[in-house]
């Protein structure tokens, strides 16, 4: 051990907030089944609770139309309703999840064929962060002074091979949370994608400021590329980004990569980042660009030079010197 104070961390208590993406449009097309996925995640959650008596797990389900808390291991209700056939975690969580999915389905409106409605990642992230703030406020959950509470947010994200044009919109963040975040790129919904991207980024930066690492587990078919969005999120907050190569052994990946507490991570060889894509996509053609033009007033990104900003309708000078000279000429003419 490098230093004496590290002893204080041996009794670390973890609060793990998991956001679980239940987007039915994604799972219906995905080769593996949601129930398989869920059973591995449940085993993982159980192992987190078993790792320490004071560990706490909160699960937030993210659907296409709503998101909601489905499980909180600190809530008293959980222990009352054990019926003997299934542990409390499973029965409560599954019951709430069923309810949630049924409600979410009712809210579903017709969507355009060929597109996959995105999950409301920003909503569940915001909720998760509010919950973590509450834990910050209430202080240490255990009277022992040496117990330090650790906060993790794990997001599991599921994504199909979607066009990577708007790659900045895929964001998966946080340890111990499952999230699916699917976005279909079509020009009609660009604006809402843009706002969702901003909302998710707001949440990420807020997590960074309160030093909550966001681990993301990106569930996608093996031949699809990495999610730039989630990589950015994990990189910014100091969490781990991992894309399991095979979903059959998901539990092994989860317990090896995400189950370690923050202190232990310093001693482990965890997956290193293979480079993070910080490119942006332009507002005009949805192309991913590495150099572009940014409007100084509203910060819209364009891939080519425009005379007028299409977002805030400011008129740009052709170039600074030309603009200055034409202005002068106009003034003289007046």
């Amino acid at each position: 051990m490098p230093s004496a104070p590290s002893k204080n961390y041996t009794d670390d208590v973890s609060l793990l907030v998991v956001t679980l993406d239940t987007n039915p449009f994604f799972w219906s097309d995905f080769p593996s089944h949601f129930s398989d996925f869920l059973s591995q995640v449940l085993a993982f959650l159980n192992s987190i609770i078993l790792l320490g008596q004071l560990n706490q797990v909160v699960v937030i389900a993210t659907g296409c139309n709503s998101c909601s808390y489905v499980y909180d291991s600190s809530s008293n209700k959980n222990h009352a309703s054990t019926n003997g056939t299934m542990p409390a975690l499973y029965s409560n969580l599954l019951h709430n999840l069923d309810e949630f999915i049924a409600n979410d389905k009712q809210l579903t409106k017709a969507h355009e064929p060929g597109t996959v409605p995105s999950s409301l990642l920003s909503g569940s992230l915001s909720k998760a962060l509010c919950y973590i703030q509450r834990a910050f406020r209430s202080g240490p959950m255990h009277p022992q002074p040496r117990v330090r509470l650790r906060y993790w947010l794990i997001i599991f994200s599921v994504c199909k091979d979607l066009p990577m044009g708007l790659n900045s919109t895929y964001l998966m963040i946080f340890t111990f949370y499952t999230f699916n975040f699917c976005i279909a790129v079509s020009l009609q919904i660009t604006l809402s994608i843009f706002f969702r991207y901003v909302a998710i980024m707001n949440a990420i930066f807020s997590a960074q400021r309160s030093s909550v690492p966001v681990d993301s587990c990106y569930i996608a078919s093996s031949n699809s590329s990495n999610s730039a969005f989630l990589q950015q999120a994990s990189y910014i907050t100091g969490g781990i980004y991992y894309k399991p190569p095979q979903l059959d052994g998901l539990f092994q990946y989860l317990s090896a990569v995400f189950a370690t507490d923050l202190h232990s991570r310093a001693f482990l060889r965890l997956p290193k980042s293979l480079g993070v894509d910080f490119r942006a996509s332009c507002f005009c053609h949805k192309k991913t660009i590495d150099t572009g033009y940014v409007c100084s007033v509203c910060l819209s990104i364009f891939c080519e030079h425009h005379d007028k900003c299409s977002t805030c309708s400011s008129v740009f000078g052709q170039s600074q010197s030309v603009a200055a000279s034409t202005d002068n000429r106009k003034r003289k003419a007046e």
Binding site: S66, C67, S68, L107, L120, S122, G123, S124, S126, K127, L129, C130, Y131, Q133, R134, R137, S168, S192, F195, Y197, V198, A199, M201, N202, A203, F205, S206, R209, Q232, Y235, I236, K272, S273, L274, G275, V276, D277, F278, R279, A280, D290, T291, G292, Y293, V294, C295, S296, V297, C298, L299, I301, F302, H306, C309, C312, S314, F316, Q320, A323, A324
Partner: protein, 419 residues
């Protein structure tokens, strides 16, 4: 205090006596804190500290409403790309000890907080440091985007002597800010301890030059109000304030973090060419241009000239391209789309059947019923009608900048985006 020459030696004792009316240190702790006033007796006769959260929250909401009404009164444009010079007065007045331990130490501490907060809120902006002492002004750091570099060089230069010179400082900043591109917003923040200025020429001329140079000058005084500072701020559209104590000073300086409303003719709209570098994999070795060292941690590669830089946002040292990441851009957007203030739920509307609230906070799931099953004060979002507790309200507006309710439902989402 008639022996001016002897001041540096005797200063401590004299200052203390003058400022604290001859109180001993232990007495001062009581007069300042007045800790007994924040105690009250509860039903069982125990002393408890007064619950001030409701009062604090009321103050916070007042501030929020003021901000929102400002924003609503005009569809204001905000200067998101700021070039700010912080002028730190290191004249001998900065060694006064009316702030603990000295004005200079307090200023340095708060400047550090300010610089970190400033870059957090304005990732596309640049800051430079200027100090003034001995009647001259000198540039401590050039305009740059790295908070650590500024803080480090400020910490290394902590000596105060001589007089402050407002005119020299303004002239220096003016000549430096003249070179920045036209889309940038030029700002100066002066932290002024002295009650005088030692100038070589006519300062009114300098103030007019600053006005012409479109510099927005703000001053935070630590001593007393000065006419010349007030005049400077009025002429250039800045704000002038005088700090009462350390916490007030912190409040005043942090007010300069959010981007100010842009004055339309001060900066022209322009398209800026920017590069979005990718981060290289961990373990790849490359020599960075900023430190000229071989590094393995992985850095960013300029998309135009392919050199390695360590930090974003920055300017490429080789080709001069502004390098930025898409999250940095996204981080600035919340200034442009602030979330609406939440509406307070009063006790009467709580009983109104048309407004049934579940009495748990939508954000953190905390129950909003206090011991007597009486609903506590809470707020709701006017857009999504979800109920939140006070703590979440503050967190949402100050840090998160997202409404969890609006983000959690697709229908309300579409309303938000339609606007």
């Amino acid at each position: 205090m008639n022996n001016i020459a002897g001041r540096p030696l005797n200063e401590d004792d004299e200052e203390d006596e003058v400022n604290e009316d001859g109180l001993e240190a232990w007495e001062r702790a009581y007069t300042e804190d007045r800790s007994w006033e924040s105690l009250q007796e509860d039903e069982s006769g125990l002393l408890r500290s007064i619950d001030t959260t409701a009062i604090q929250h009321a103050q916070y909401r007042r501030r929020l409403r003021a901000l929102a009404s400002n924003a609503a009164s005009a569809r204001i444009q905000k200067g998101l790309i700021r070039y700010l010079y912080i002028v730190v007065d290191l004249s001998k007045a900065a060694s006064e000890r009316d702030f603990r331990p000295s004005r200079m130490a307090v200023i340095t501490k708060q400047v550090e907080t300010f610089i970190r907060e400033f870059f957090d809120q304005n990732p596309l902006s640049h800051v430079g440091l200027v100090t003034t002492k001995d009647g001259v002004a000198s540039c401590l750091t050039d305009l740059g985007g790295s908070p650590e570099a500024h803080i480090k060089s400020l910490m290394g230069k902590l000596e105060c002597s001589g007089d402050a010179s407002l005119q020299n400082a303004l002239d220096l900043v003016h000549s430096n800010l003249n070179q920045i591109p036209s889309y940038g917003h030029r700002e100066v923040l002066i932290l002024y301890s002295a009650l005088s200025t030692c100038d070589p020429g006519d300062i009114m001329e300098t103030i007019q030059n600053c006005k012409k140079g479109k510099m927005r000058c703000s001053v935070i005084g630590l001593a007393a109000e000065m006419f010349i500072c007030k005049h400077l701020c009025q002429e250039t559209g800045g704000t002038y304030s005088v700090a009462l104590d350390e916490s007030h000073f912190k409040e005043l300086i942090l007010e300069h973090c959010p981007p100010p409303p842009a004055i339309a003719e001060y900066a022209t709209a322009n398209l800026i060419k920017m590069g979005f570098p990718q981060r290289a994999a961990e373990g790849s070795v490359a020599i960075c241009t900023c430190h000229e060292e071989a590094k393995t941690e992985g850095g960013y590669t300029c998309p135009r000239c392919k050199v390695r830089v360590c930090e974003l946002p920055t300017e490429c040292r080789i080709c001069g391209l502004t390098l930025i990441s898409s999250p940095h851009l996204a981080r600035s957007y919340h200034h442009l789309f602030p979330i609406v203030p939440f509406v307070e739920i009063s006790a009467s509307s709580q009983n109104d059947p048309s407004h049934r609230f579940p009495n748990t906070c939508f954000g953190c799931q905390e129950s909003l019923l206090s011991q007597g099953n009486k609903p506590e004060l809470s707020v709701y979002c006017p857009k999504c009608k979800q109920q939140f507790c006070f703590d979440c309200d503050i967190y949402i507006h100050e840090s998160l900048h997202n409404c969890p309710g609006c983000e959690s439902f697709r229908h309300s989402k579409s309303i938000t985006t339609a606007q």
